[in-house]
Amino acid sequence: MTDQLLALLPAWGPWLLATTTFLSCLMLPIPASMLMLAGGALVATGDLALPAAAGGALLGAVVGDQVGFLAGRGAGRVLPRLRGRRARTMARARQKLRRNGAAAVFFSRWLFAPLGPSINVAAGALRYSHRAFTLAGVAGELVWVGLYVGLGYVFGANLEAATELASSALGLLAALAAFAVLGLWLLAAARRRGRTD
């Protein structure tokens, strides 16, 4: 499918980019990142205009996020009310989301991109603030689109190299983030224990 989509890209540029980023936000297996890389390469050669290519990709992603969020909100209304322990778990999740929601939404756009679609639905179902979701979402999608179109601009004619670079760099960044967060967590835990002894 990647080859067919790539073949359509020069002629359908922004429309195709918008469609693929939209579908990828709904968890459909579409090679959106690869198309953005190729789109960046076509911008570099002057075959596509940067505002159109980046704008199309961004628009598709933002609309896709909104669809996921609103679907989650609709589902949250329809589902039966939870009782007892499950209601408490839900309340705790909601509280956590209220505190760290913006970061969760922002980073799941690009750094932990596979989590994106589920977080959209979860945020909607847990009645997370629509405005905060949209703000963090658009900021995150800007990074996502900028990253891939930018990498494509530099590397894109060699899709294999660009894909490999993007996945290695993002993988390293995600691993470093997990390393730092868990490290700080453990450090704090060790200190707390030390004090109570």
């Binding site: 080859d3 790539l6 073949a7 890209l9 020069p10 002629a11 540029g13 190729a38 390469a41 076509l42 570099a44 050669t45 002057g46 075959d47 596509l48 004619a157 060699n158 899709l159 294999e160 190299a161 490999e164 670079l165 290695s168 760099a169 993988g171 390293l172 995600a174 691993a175 470093l176 997990a178 390393f179 868990l182 490290g183 967590w185 453990l186 835990a189 060790a190 224990r193 030390g194």
Partner: protein, 110 residues
């Protein structure tokens, strides 16, 4: 060591996650390094010529003037710039490889 043993008892999951994250950091750092060494070689950098590319993209990645590519492919001014190599080949009824073969002599020039 005592601290580590205590953390193992109290925060086992976080400790396991921390170790996994450390392994992942090393893995991706090595991959990044291998990537940098491999693609630093100009011979590897250009990548294959593919059907979705436009003549302009071919010219840019191979560092040859776009006019030279247009001439080698016999493209007139009437061909829209977003026409892909695959479309040009299909219009002429030749396989993509045959079209690419027309450009190859260009690439061998210093």
């Amino acid at each position: 060591m005592n601290t580590l043993r205590r953390l193992w008892q109290t925060n086992r999951l976080a400790l396991i996650g921390f170790a996994l994250a450390a392994v992942a950091v090393v893995f991706f750092a090595v991959r990044m390094l291998v990537f940098t060494i491999y693609w630093a070689d100009p011979a590897h950098r250009a990548g294959p010529i593919e059907g979705w590319m436009t003549p302009a993209m071919l010219a840019r990645t191979r560092h040859i003037p776009p006019e030279a590519v247009a001439r080698a492919l016999g493209l007139g001014r009437d061909v829209p710039r977003r026409t892909t190599l695959a479309e040009i080949a299909a219009e002429r009824g030749v396989p993509l490889q045959a079209l690419i073969a027309e450009i190859l002599p260009l690439l061998e020039q210093p």
